[in-house]
């Protein structure tokens, strides 16, 4: 069997005395889409952020593409360039245009030529449907457009995997669809994705596996149909009954 792209082994993380990741084991294969759900404060964001080392862990190991995560410096920067991250609050560079947001990484990190980076960026912006916004600044765009730009910025690095931390939670309801659409097509295109979300529809249709977290523990994981149809743990049942009621 091929080696998994992302592998977490007995990962533990504390914030002071708060144990936010408890002995987490998780493997993600190439091309796999894993949706992480769970109640607020269960450690989903921390899990995501640990994978590109925006958050350090206290014990256990994380390997990406066969390599343990580098501790710091250029090696860490290289790893991060290979892992796309999409944040709840978009975090587009406020002083740069959308096009500059997308080309900055390829030019400064990958050493791509400006013309080349620009051409690829325009293709990506086309793909997420905001090519006509390329010369605007982030503040001039709607939330949905900003998040699609942020996805294009991450894709421009040609990452091996993409991490999404509640990418639609900060959006007005009418804009959620346009972002999920982009993510769904990415998933269909074979991108390896870890997606933290409360969008159960996306989990059902786009995920290969659903991972349920509670209190820092990875409580259960299963294919979406199985997880939603027949949750095993009490906590998952309880969580689903609350979420699906609405």
């Amino acid at each position: 069997m091929a080696q998994p792209l992302i592998e977490l082994n007995s990962v533990n993380k504390w914030f002071g005395s708060l144990h936010v990741l408890r002995d987490v084991n998780l493997t993600v294969d190439r091309g796999e889409v894993v949706v992480v759900i769970g109640p607020s404060g269960s450690g989903k964001s921390t899990l995501c952020r640990a994978i590109n080392r925006l958050e350090t862990i206290n014990s256990g190991t994380i390997t990406f593409d066969g390599q343990p995560l580098p501790a710091e410096g250029r090696a860490l920067a290289r790893l991060r360039a290979d892992v796309g991250m999409v944040f709840q609050s978009f975090n587009l560079f406020a002083h740069l245009t959308i096009l500059q947001n997308v080309t900055l990484g390829p030019i400064k990190v990958r050493g791509e030529s400006k013309a080349n980076a620009r051409e690829r960026a325009m293709q990506l912006l086309e793909r997420v449907g905001i090519a006509n916004q390329a010369d605007k600044y982030p503040a001039q765009l709607s939330g949905g457009q900003q998040q699609r730009a942020a996805i294009a910025r991450a894709l421009a690095m040609q990452p091996k995997a993409m991490l999404f931390d509640e990418p639609t939670s900060a959006l007005d309801p009418e804009m959620v669809g346009e972002v999920l659409e982009v993510m769904t097509s990415l998933a269909a295109g074979g991108m390896t994705m870890i997606v933290v979300t409360h969008e159960m529809g996306f989990a059902r249709h786009a995920a290969k596996r659903v991972v349920f977290m509670a209190d820092g523990e990875l409580v259960e994981q299963a294919a979406p149909a199985e997880f939603f149809g027949n949750p095993q743990s009490e906590r998952a049942k309880d969580f689903l009954s609350k979420v699906l009621q609405h």
């Binding site: 590109n52 925006l54 410096g73 250029r74 920067a77 290289r78 790893l79 991060r80 360039a81 290979d82 892992v83 796309g84 991250m85 944040f87 609050s89 975090n91 587009l92 560079f93 406020a94 002083h95 900055l104 990484g105 400064k108 990190v109 942020a150 910025r153 991450a154 690095m157």
Partner: protein, 240 residues
Amino acid sequence: MNVLWEQFPVFRDGFLLTFQLSFLSAIGALLVGTLVAVLRISPVPPLRWLGTSYVNLFRNIPLTAVFVFVVVGLPLLGSSADFLKIPGLDQIFTRLGIDLPYFRFSIIALSLYTAAFVCEALRSGINAVPSGQAEAARSIGLTFTQNLRFIVLPQAWRAAIVPLGSVIIAMIKNSAIAGFMGLYGDLSSRGQELVSAGVNGVTYPLIPVFIAISLGFLIMTVPLGLLLDRIEKNRMVKAR
């Protein structure tokens, strides 16, 4: 107030030198201050410590003391700050190139002192940049230095420009000390000369001379202040 008209060339020359001193010191202070700010936020603890010590030292001693350390201390160490005899620049600012070192010493003292305040203004600007910006930059693989250079500092500069302006205005006024610390030819030293030695045996009273000196400073500081007000107003309009 006749002194201003009678001795206008003296004040004009003094003004020009004070202007040059302020201009060069502002550049020096911005450069050193940015460097110290980078040290203060560096991930390397000894560098951070160095930056913090710098600010705590220079922010908390009188400018006069800094001048004494530079003007008396550097010659004791065998330096007359020749590194400031920058080719090309010394053609425009001719006082940079001459053998008397006091113009260069004054630039150094003012730059070092003001850099501490520049650092703090910049740091407040850096703190005003949301942490998500640096985080997003890290997540696409920018190194610490690239992150600062392309993402954090450009935004911090914008947030810091008004406080930085106040720092520079204070520095321009502080430059008046140079004339009492060995520098000859700036507004305050030329003014002093009119009071004590006079011109062709005529001395002038202190108050009118210093009113004229103050006018010279107002010509530099008031427009700068107005410019800052405009920048601030523009920013408020944009933020709406």
